[in-house]
């Protein structure tokens, strides 16, 4: 067990370093000089040179990479070119929006999808299954930002019940923050729930046909008890994987929804940094996203080990 863990952690660290190098090189290859972008259409060559040297862009690539990596390892993510403030603070501020949003969306999609998927599996080929299938297809096909627009038109513009967008900040109160996030969370959750419903349904169906469930039923357990007590825990592995994947997707993929609802989240920060060629912010945000994905995968692996004792033995 210990050896599995240490091996996984070592590969985690190596992956992160390789990824950081890749990010740095790719960002450097992007067309567009950040200094030129800042100066705009009246830049003269001298002003450009002055700004480039202020920004440290005249240093060699390897030097800049090592300086960045050294900083990141010491918790110094550098300064944003455009905002002129430390990037760590920026990412922190944005996470206070994106993280609760993603969490709310994940919880909502689980609440919708797991019961629906189980019900569809139990009444497999019945009317519930059909409705669940329809819901899945629709929610996968309809983009989250569009659902968001509909929600705004319905609940904000027409009914005036909800704020149309923006984020008041958590210091405005928990309820105000929650109100600002609930519609975007619903928009995100709906499209995620579709995928999750299908995974849950398939997975429960598979497990239900296995011997141990049949044995449980033969022992005289009710359908309900057999599913919730025996089938579901075993059907959880693919569902947990999916949730793990979705969570990283939600954090990274909230760009459009954050735009529609005008939320100052991480997705919008990344988008803005890219168009402004705020290279430092881009590097840090992409590294953060990558680290999230890598660490999530790591955690999903750990969850497997916890759920399925056979994997522990095999390791």
């Amino acid at each position: 067990m210990i050896s599995i863990l240490s091996r996984r952690i070592a590969s985690l660290i190596v992956t992160l370093i390789v990824v950081s190098l890749l990010i740095f090189v790719v960002m450097d290859l992007l067309p567009g000089d950040p200094a030129a972008v800042m100066l705009g259409t009246s830049a003269t060559p001298e002003t450009l040179a002055a700004l480039r040297s202020q920004m440290g862009l005249d240093q060699p690539l390897a030097f800049r990479y090592l300086a960045w990596l050294f900083g990141v390892l010491h918790g110094d993510l550098g300064q944003s070119y455009t905002y002129g403030v430390p990037v760590a603070g920026l990412i922190g501020e944005r996470l206070s929006v994106t993280l609760p949003l993603a969490l709310m969306a994940v919880v909502l999609s689980i609440v919708i999808a797991v019961p629906l998927g189980v019900a569809a599996a139990r009444r497999h080929n019945g009317i519930v299954d059909f409705v669940a299938g329809l819901f899945s297809y629709l929610s996968i096909a309809v983009p989250a930002f569009w659902v968001g627009l509909l929600l705004i038109i319905g609940f904000s513009t027409k009914l005036g019940l909800m704020p149309a967008g923006g984020f008041p900040g958590w210091d405005a109160g928990l309820w105000a923050g929650f109100k600002a996030l609930i519609m975007p969370a619903v928009a995100l959750a709906l499209s995620q729930a579709g995928v999750l419903t299908r995974v849950a349904r398939t997975s429960v169906l598979e497990v239900m046909s296995e011997d141990f469930v049949r044995t449980a039923r033969a022992k005289g357990l009710s359908d309900r008890a057999a599913i919730w007590g025996h089938a579901l825990p075993n059907a959880l592995i693919p569902v947990v994987t999916m949730i793990g994947l979705q969570f990283t997707f939600l954090i990274a993929g909230a760009v459009l929804v954050e735009n529609v609802f005008n939320l100052p989240g991480l997705g919008r920060l990344a988008y803005q940094a890219l168009s402004q060629r705020d290279v430092v912010v881009m590097q840090d945000v992409v590294l953060f996203f990558s680290a999230m994905v890598i660490i999530m995968n790591f955690l999903v692996d750990l969850a497997y080990l916890a759920i399925d004792p056979r994997l522990r033995a095999a390791g």
Binding site: G32, S42, A43, A50, S156, A164, G165, F261, P264
Partner: protein, 511 residues
């Protein structure tokens, strides 16, 4: 009926008290909102683009000035709502007969938001900072003619110039020329300190900037009505519309989507105010590259364009066609759209004369913005009518566009909205991305600088416009409208935009 209720109430103390209480509450509720509305002294202004930093003297983006100029920062001079130069921190000035010495009388009793007094030493610092060797001022060339800055006494500032510079007073009114003081200058990017009617309060990155009234503002006659102002940044046009309708935002002085403007017409709450900006949409051509090096080709392309149709298709009919690189806001504006009006037959004939009877094909590098993409598509169809094939290559703005087109000069045609006010002199700059070289034009621009007489300058600007209209270094298309949408009770916002800004000095609520 009423008697029995009264009696019942009289019979039960608790009930009576609660009825009284209710009546009181109702009375308060009835009075309170009116009292509140009459005293409304805050405003929320929507902007599409968040500024990058809050110091207009070190970075170019227009949004920086739109938050800070005239609100937080002020200059020696300023530009008013009609585009005219007015005194500000310089109360008056004297120009020597040879046009090379400017003596400014500075206003007394002005302090910065951090308490530092404004005087000639501060003004000298600000100007030297803008023109110095390490300066990254986006308009550094404005100060290139300044030879020395002298401070004979605390309220006198003397600028000695290398040569007469007729636009100097106008340039000193620009966002990039605002007065900053030595102690706070380096931090203006995040915590701007100026002399203006509003103080910076906070900046929630990605969401909003808050300002509050400066109680010590020097200009008592300005009679600033607002106590608080919030600039909220909403990029998505649908979200902008929703925020206006839901009342989250009081005004969008520059609403982003012309196609949604009609949806506000007939609203009893919101006013639609359409004015002119300084944003000139022009399709620049690489004048040093074949076939655009031939004037007849450029003229033929201009005649292939139906400007009214471009405005209709690209910007929902909102916008003003132009015939040169100049807007109706600017002094000495001439309508030159008639120089090369839409005429397919003449265009074809001219192309034949230039040696392209069967047309030619080229590529336009069009930024991703909606106006640029839509205009390119319309131009493509219009050029096809005279046998010219135009391929559209989307080029990311600003990053890739700046390196490819602006710096690299590697393009045939491009399209962009030039945001700087009074920037007709870009056609005289060398190098500049059009690669347009015309000594006659440069001479007119030099004369503008040699003169400090506004009437004379206006006449010269007329000549400059005419030269460009005939030479067509770029296809002059239209001036973007200022699509102002705001609460009907909100007054005092600028309708036109002779300089990109959101001046709040006169903004107030009216019942």
């Amino acid at each position: 009926m009423s008697r029995s209720i009264f009696r019942a109430a009289g019979g039960h103390g608790v009930l009576r008290r609660s009825v009284l209480g209710l009546a009181l509450a109702a009375g308060v509720a009835f009075v309170a909102p009116q009292a509140y509305a009459a005293a409304k002294t805050s405003v929320t202004i929507g902007m599409a683009i968040e500024p990058t930093g809050l110091d207009p003297t070190i970075a170019a983006p227009v949004a920086i000035g739109q938050v800070t100029w005239q609100n937080i920062f002020e200059g020696l001079t300023t530009v008013d709502e009609t585009g005219k130069v007015q005194p500000q921190l310089a109360e008056s000035w004297d120009i020597s007969p040879d046009g090379k010495t400017y003596t400014f009388k500075l206003r007394k009793g002005v302090t910065f938001h951090n308490g530092v007094a404004f005087d000639s030493a501060v003004a000298k610092f600000a100007i030297d900072r803008a023109r110095g060797a390490d300066s990254v001022n986006p308009q550094k060339r404005y100060y290139s003619s300044i030879e020395s800055v002298e401070t004979p006494d605390a309220s006198t500032l003397v600028l000695k110039l290398k040569q007469p510079t007729g636009s100097l007073l106008y340039w000193l009114g620009w966002p990039s020329s605002v007065m900053v003081e030595p102690k706070s200058a380096d931090d203006n990017k995040t915590t701007p300190i100026g002399t203006g009617p509003f103080k910076f309060v906070s900046w929630a990155k990605g969401a909003k900037v808050d300002l509050a009234k400066n109680p010590d503002y020097w200009n008592k006659s300005a009679d600033v009505k607002l106590d608080k102002a919030e600039f909220r940044f909403i990029n998505d046009a649908q979200a902008q519309a929703a925020a206006l309708t839901a009342g989250d935002v009081d005004a969008f002085p520059e609403f982003g989507a012309p196609e949604l403007v009609d949806s506000f017409k007939g609203s009893d709450k919101l006013a639609t105010v359409i004015g002119n900006t300084e944003l000139k949409v022009v399709a620049g051509m690489n004048n040093s590259r074949k076939p655009f090096s031939d004037k007849r080709v450029r003229q033929a392309l201009m005649m292939a364009v139906d400007r009214a149709m471009v405005v209709e298709g690209a910007w929902s009919g909102l916008g003003t066609p132009i015939g040169s690189h100049y807007t109706p806001n600017d002094p000495g504006y001439k309508d030159l759209t008639g120089v090369f009006p839409h005429d397919v037959e003449k265009a074809k004939a001219l192309l034949g004369e230039a040696g392209y009877p069967n047309g030619f094909s080229f590529t336009i590098k069009a930024p991703q913005m909606a106006y640029a993409q839509r205009t390119s598509q319309i131009l493509q169809a219009m050029f096809a009518e005279i046998g010219v094939t135009m391929n559209i290559e989307t080029t990311e703005f600003p990053a890739k566009w700046v390196s490819d087109v602006f710096k690299g000069g590697n393009y045939d045609m491009t399209i962009v909205a030039h945001a700087e006010a009074m920037d007709i002199d870009i056609y005289a700059r060398d190098p500049y991305y059009f690669n347009y070289k015309n000594p006659a034009f440069n001479e007119v621009m030099a004369k503008v600088e040699a003169s400090s007489d506004p009437a004379e300058q206006a006449k010269l600007y007329g000549e400059a416009q005419t030269i460009l209209a005939n030479d067509v270094p770029a296809l002059f298309l239209f001036v973007m409208p200022k699509l102002g949408i705001w609460d009907k009770k909100l007054k005092g916002l600028w309708e036109n935009e002779p300089i990109p800004s959101n001046v709040l000095t006169k903004v107030h609520w009216e019942e």
